[in-house]
Symmetry: C2
DNA sequence: TAATGTATGATTGCATGCAATATAAACAGA
DNA sequence: TCTGTTTATATTGCATGCAATCATACATTA
């Protein structure tokens, strides 16, 4: 046993832990859009007092994951279709920038990492593992942003993807056709990356993100039609 | 006198007012980088209790304007030269996007507004009013982002410019030469805008922001050299 | 009956008190 | 003198209490 027992885990302040936990629940879809956040109720559930909870709520409001109406309380931010659209519009040039920066900095090991991650995703694709595909795709894009070496870009990107991923849970899966297209694009992308062709890779990435946004929006609209036609 | 006396002003929660006030002081440079924020001291100054202050501090931490070290306290975030660099790298594609979206949406009145704002800035330039020049330049860029009609873009942009503007207060003014170059670029920009030439305007905007970043970084480096050589 | 006013309960907003932690100052031993 | 330890003080972190506000139901009046 190391010198660190579980007493040392609590280095993070309570409000941080609470914010992390709530953020996770919101992004994962466990807490639905519009869900009311009753302070006393939540406090009892989490076994804490209202002060750190209220601080956590303020944090998540800045991240646009929670809405606070004065004297009325907090609720999980409603996620509008226009917002998802706006997020992908921004993500496209940001991920393009990330890729340009990353390719300018990466060493051979970095490029190999990208190739490996791509291969892992492709393996999921061939195994019909859609969840694995999604997770590896997210990891692939995150890795590129990390390799870019810009803390500001990383933080901005994380905030935007946190919000965009919320859309995933009220949208049906992509059609096989769209899935195939996305994979084909990724194939072209990794080739351009391994070729060290920054302009080509940059353009592919931008268009890929825009296209992903279109797919997500279509899925959401489809989901909404299915709901209303019931 | 209207029906609203000053009793109705307090609709905003205390923590919001406090956050706004602190943000303003940090962005304006009244609170210097690294300045310690003693809770009790600040509370007495502002005439409030610690609870809303602490909530405000959490808000500004998410905005990267304040750093909190657990059990050690909050301080105004140190602004590093690399951070300013990263911010302008991101602002360039974001403002390009903003201009593209804005030009696709603006009506003739919108275009006229842009022309008017440009003229106002040029007037300041000819009057050797550097402060006016700066403020009108900021307003010009903000107006474009507003016209883009994307709340997400607007919020992201506001956060980034808040942070970048902090650099202004520890950097010497631009040289006349750089000032001239910036104005010339603005002239080309407004012409492309009024021509409804989106690709041209888009490119000019992107390069203009990148160039502004270079200017700001050069100024900061110059300022640091002057300090250390004293 | 519709509209307005009033009272009650629930919930949030803010202030304060106590506990936990970090900084420093004082001190003891080598 | 230096180093390690202890003690004191200041400051933050968290919990709780009270005040302000809002929502609901009910009562009153036109």
């Amino acid at each position: 046993m190391t010198s660190n027992s579980n007493a040392t885990i609590n280095r993070a302040a309570l409000h941080t832990q609470v914010a992390d936990a709530l953020r996770d629940q919101i992004v994962r879809g466990d807490l639905e859009s519009g869900a009311r956040l009753n302070e006393i109720e939540l406090c009892e559930t989490m076994g804490i007092s209202r002060t750190p909870l209220r601080e956590a709520i303020k944090i998540l409001e800045v991240e646009s994951l929670i809405e606070i109406k004065p004297h009325k309380g907090a609720s999980v931010a409603e996620i509008r279709i226009e917002t998802i659209d706006e997020i992908f519009q921004i993500l496209a040039p940001l991920e393009r920038l990330a890729l340009e920066l990353a390719m300018a900095r990466m060493d051979d090991a970095g490029f190999q990492t990208m190739q490996d991650m791509h291969d892992t995703m492709i393996a999921c694709y061939h195994a019909q593992d859609r969840e694995g595909c999604f997770l590896n795709d997210v990891a692939f894009h995150n890795q590129i942003v990390s390799f870019a070496g810009s803390d500001v870009l990383k933080a901005t990107h994380t905030n935007l993807t946190n919000r965009s991923q919320r859309g995933r849970f009220f949208a049906p899966r992509f059609s096989q056709e769209k899935q195939d297209e996305a994979m084909a694009t990724h194939e072209k992308l990794i080739i351009a990356i391994m070729d060290r062709d920054i302009p080509a890779a940059s353009q592919i990435m931008h268009d890929h993100v825009v296209r992903t946004g279109v797919f997500v929006l279509d899925s959401i609209r489809l989901g909404q039609e299915q709901k209303t036609s019931k």
